[in-house]
């Protein structure tokens, strides 16, 4: 008996014509989701752990304040003094009325400093804050 492989006469090809379109779609997705501004953090900090965490839904509303190990405070790209926070945050709030301030404070920082920063934020009417923390495992 003769065995013969049956081959279908239909050409087997994956259509690649739409590949660029698909790639462009992916590309657009990543372009939209990318947040380019990565601030260079000048202070040394380690976030505390917590369990009752909330997610910040809207990243565009967030503005960060870092408080480092040495008690230095950073906003945007520069180290600032406590007295300057009010002015900086007030102008930020005028651009973005529903601003959320995310405080990234070092684990061992003194509460006195954090309270001072909070008082300045209250004066600047930035009342929505968020203490940044990592998920406790």
């Amino acid at each position: 008996m003769k065995f013969e492989k049956k081959r279908s006469s239909v050409k087997q090809e994956i259509p690649t014509a739409s590949m660029p379109d698909i790639i462009f779609m992916l590309l657009l997705f990543f372009m939209v989701t990318t947040t380019m501004r990565e601030v260079e953090v000048l202070v040394d900090y380690k976030l505390p752990d917590a369990e009752a965490l909330e997610k910040i839904e809207n990243k565009r509303l967030v503005s960060y304040i870092w408080i480092g190990k040495s008690g230095r405070i950073q906003i945007n790209d520069s180290i600032v003094k406590v007295d300057d926070i009010q002015n900086i945050m007030y102008s930020k709030r005028q651009e973005l009325p529903s601003i959320i301030v995310s405080l990234r404070v070092h684990i061992g920082a003194d509460m006195g400093l954090v309270t001072d920063v909070q008082q300045e934020l209250r004066k600047a009417y930035c009342l929505r804050i968020n203490y940044s923390a990592n998920i406790k495992i």
Binding site: L26, L27, F30, A52, G108, Q118, L127, S132
Partner: protein
Amino acid sequence: MLLKKKRSMEANIPSSSMADIAFLLLIFFLVATVIDVDTGIGLTLPEYVPPEEIEDVKVDPDRMASILINENNDVLLGGEPISLFQIKNTLKPRIISKIDLPKNKKLIVSLKTDRKTVYSAYISALDQIKMAFFEVRDEYSNSRFGTKYDDLSEETQKEVKDAIPIIISLAEPEMVK
């Protein structure tokens, strides 16, 4: 005269490399994207009132749960010294007992720290307080609607929120005289 039609040359942009270029861009944005969600403990600060204008409002002591953390991370809850990790279980029965009370009788948790208190102790305390409220909310919605708080619809979520509002008051920092 014979007019000869000019044969138009077909002008083509080579598009075979388009996919490659798109891939390159794609890889760049893939690498540059940070999809980490910011997590943290949310809080709304009270409005700033100048120290001269601060008015003392009398609150029923039964409504208040005042937590004090000193510089050695010792915790006082309503005058009783407890450990940091007992806060949740101490608060929970007090929150539960106030579920059916009207809005102006709900529990207020007041948190006060020393200037030298370590930040992580403050966050742990805040975490405990929030967890107490979240757990009571979950239990309440479980008994009433049969699901967790997060799975409820928006209206029922609001109902639970009204029954168990999270009221955390940060004590006004004391002036050093």
